[in-house]
């Protein structure tokens, strides 16, 4: 194969960077950013950065043909499909729940308990 020889120093630098980022992840986990989502975002961003370093340097993507970028990219797209469609479930569970307790928008909207007591029983 026609890969250029990567100097050992590069590998050691990247290894060092990965270790520092790991330490950073642990340190950040103890800080409360006030909003749970923000903590997750920070942790995931560091993880993505680490994964990129491994892919591009350790796995030689930097020195590879474009088709290997395509293949690596497609796995990212597949991960987005997996997480995205899974979230259609988790993010929408409350929608239906809250709709059950609301009047149907296009009907004249009396409070649901009085409008349809028999149908409402099923929700409790």
């Amino acid at each position: 194969m026609d890969h250029p020889v990567v100097p050992v120093k590069t590998y050691l630098t990247i290894f060092g960077a990965l270790m520092v980022l790991t330490a950073l992840t642990v340190w950040v986990a103890f800080i409360d950013f006030g909003h749970g989502l923000l903590n997750d975002t920070v942790a995931m961003s560091i993880a993505v950065l680490k994964a990129l370093l491994v892919l591009v340097i350790f796995m030689h993507l930097k020195y590879s043909a474009k088709i290997l970028w395509l293949i690596a990219g497609s796995s990212v797209i597949w991960m987005i499909i997996m997480i995205g469609l899974t979230l259609t479930d988790y993010r929408s569970r409350e929608w239906i729940e809250s709709q059950a307790h609301r009047a149907i928008p296009w009907a004249s909207n009396p409070p649901i308990e009085q409008a349809a007591p028999a149908a409402d029983d099923g929700h409790h």
Binding site: S74, S75, I81, M82, L85, T88, D89, W95, I96
Partner: protein, 553 residues
């Protein structure tokens, strides 16, 4: 069947089977054809184990009471059947046996790009298989092949970890095979063999390999999650620890629904080859079939939530997945129409491989259309977890996957072994298998519609007649497989010499010797014609002295 090669070395010129016949030359071989034989023998052993487990619980189901098996034992039997048949037979069946044998030969290569990875894949597969068998022998697993949480992580008192490890390890074997397919098809095609001259079997293998590479890592990670939750109490799926059991179903079906296409796409590839050869026509709509294979591979990843309509998945997600599921029927229907159009005005002959192809067409249509009942949200509420589902996926996996595998095995058997099997018996066995299959699974549609739940062995008496029909069918089916096994083994030694091209087919695999020499071709083939060039006379190897398909109508 033993892995001993053809003994009559004098009758055959030097080939991959008789070049070296020591045990180590088989167990350490890097020849993709020998690795295919190793897979064939081991997969047939797994098929036998899975089939016997099914026969035992079909006997139990002949009466409404529990008289042969206790409840827990019954659960263990159907779990064994499921795990063995899915992970250790259906998923590897066509790719690891026929694909391993044929991909390099069909594209005019000497071997795969990574022969050592190919051999390693077999050892990894066997290691996984042995672990799963140990789990069965050491007391069994009763979770069903899907390992649903929280049962598998919290309640099941059985060898779940061992079985999960087996499935996990077997997954790596799939990944190795898939990787080999993709690289080999990209880099090692013979001169002149452009992408759109590739046989559809190769395209099917390519699409399958994509699904394997993109999906299998997910199920591997999911099974590891079961392991760490069960062994170390990490909270992933257990609500008490902050987890969610439905997350398991999402992750599991993200792989396991596309896994259905890992089983069915290769069978579709085989059927394309069979229909073209036994209609003596270029396939109608070649490119449509190519792109529909790729479309199935992609769309297959968007539909997994239809397994979870009655779980606590949100109704909105249920609607989305139901809607998306209908799309997968489109490329499948396109293939079906193109196959039928190929038959139309073709010169159709009913040799035994073609009977399996016809079996596939009929049974897979039933399997596919009943899938639409299940992907419709409202009807699924009624049919979910009933025998209707059992019948549906057996029509797809056995009627589609196994029929494709057997058709392919019969079609390429002369190429693999150099010998013909007795055609009359083969036709008889194909018909017995077809009848047995339908007798087994058609009554299950009715059972399901009338409300018989799956995975129960005690049931109301009104269901008994249909259960007896189904059990009888299972025995007929088993008998059909036995006949087939017997004449195939017989043919290894006593079958007529096949010659290069017994079916007068087109494709590079028919231009080399049967069985092929160790490096597949005596000189690198050059492709000058489009694929399935039945309009041209066969250039090389249509020898009139060998059995032709015309005699068997």
């Amino acid at each position: 069947m033993s892995s001993a090669p053809d003994t009559s070395a004098t009758a055959m010129p030097k080939n991959y089977l008789n070049e070296k016949i020591t045990v180590s030359s088989w167990l350490l071989t890097l020849d993709h054809k020998r690795i295919a034989i190793l897979y064939l023998v081991s997969l047939l052993a797994f098929f036998l184990i899975g089939g016997l487990a099914a026969l035992v619980f079909r006997v139990e189901l002949m009466t409404p009471e529990a008289d042969v098996l206790r409840s827990e034992t019954y659960n263990k039997f159907f779990t064994t059947h499921g795990i063995v048949m899915i992970f250790f037979f259906l998923i590897p069946s066509i790719p690891a046996v026929l694909g391993n044998f044929l991909v390099p030969v069909m594209i005019g290569a000497r071997d795969f790009a990574f022969p050592k990875i190919n051999l390693a894949s077999w050892y990894v597969f066997m290691f996984g298989g042995v672990l799963a068998l140990i789990a069965t022998i050491a007391g069994g697993v009763e979770t069903g092949w899907t390992f649903y949480t929280p049962y598998s992580t919290m309640y099941a008192n059985s060898n779940v970890i061992l079985a999960v490890c087996g499935a996990f390890i077997a997954g790596f074997s799939s990944i190795m095979t898939g990787l080999n397919f993709i690289v080999t098809i990209h880099k090692m095609r013979a001169p002149g063999l452009t992408w759109f001259r590739l046989p559809l079997f190769i395209w099917a293998m390519y699409a399958t390999a994509l699904v394997i590479l993109l999906g299998t890592p997910v199920v591997a990670i999911t099974l590891v999650m079961i392991f760490v939750e069960r062994a170390f109490g990490f909270g992933i799926f257990d609500p008490a620890l902050g987890g969610d059991p439905i997350l398991f179903q999402h992750l599991f079906w993200f792989y396991s629904h596309p896994a259905v296409y890992i089983m069915i796409l290769p069978a579709m590839g085989v059927v394309s080859e069979l229909i073209s050869c036994f209609s003596k026509r270029r396939l109608y709509g070649y490119r449509v079939i190519v792109f529909s294979s790729l479309a199935i591979a992609v769309i297959g990843f968007f539909v997994w939530g239809h397994h979870m309509f009655v779980s606590s998945q949100s109704t909105f997600a249920g609607l989305t997945f139901s809607f998306l599921t209908f799309f997968v029927a489109v490329p499948t229907a396109l293939k079906m129409l193109n196959w039928i159009m190929t038959l139309h005005k073709g010169s159709v002959s009913l040799a035994s491989p073609m009977l399996y192809a016809f079996g596939f067409l009929g049974l897979f249509v039933i399997g596919g259309l009943t899938g639409l009942f299940l992907s419709t949200l409202a009807t699924d509420i009624h049919l979910h977890d009933t025998y209707f589902v059992v019948a549906h996926f057996h029509y797809v996996m056995v009627g589609g996957g196994v029929m494709g595998f057997l058709g392919g095995l019969h079609f390429w058997w002369p190429k693999i072994t150099g010998r013909m099997y007795p055609e009359g018996l083969a036709i008889f066995a194909a018909i017995v298998i077809f009848i047995g299959f339908n007798l087994t699974f058609f009554p299950q549609f009715q059972l399901g519609v009338h409300g018989m739940p799956r995975r129960y062995h005690v049931y109301p008496e009104e269901f008994q007649v249909l259960h007896i029909a189904s059990s009888t069918g299972a025995m007929v089916l088993g008998f059909g497989y036995l006949i087939m096994g017997a004449y195939l083994i017989w043919s290894l030694k006593f079958g007529k010499i096949a010659g290069k091209n017994p079916w007068n087919a087109r494709g590079l695999e028919w231009e080399t010797d049967s069985p092929p020499p160790t490096h597949n071709f005596h000189e690198t083939p050059v492709v000058r014609h489009p694929v399935y060039a039945y309009e041209y006379a066969s250039e090389t190897s249509n020898e009139p002295d060998v059995q032709s398909e015309k005699g068997h109508v």
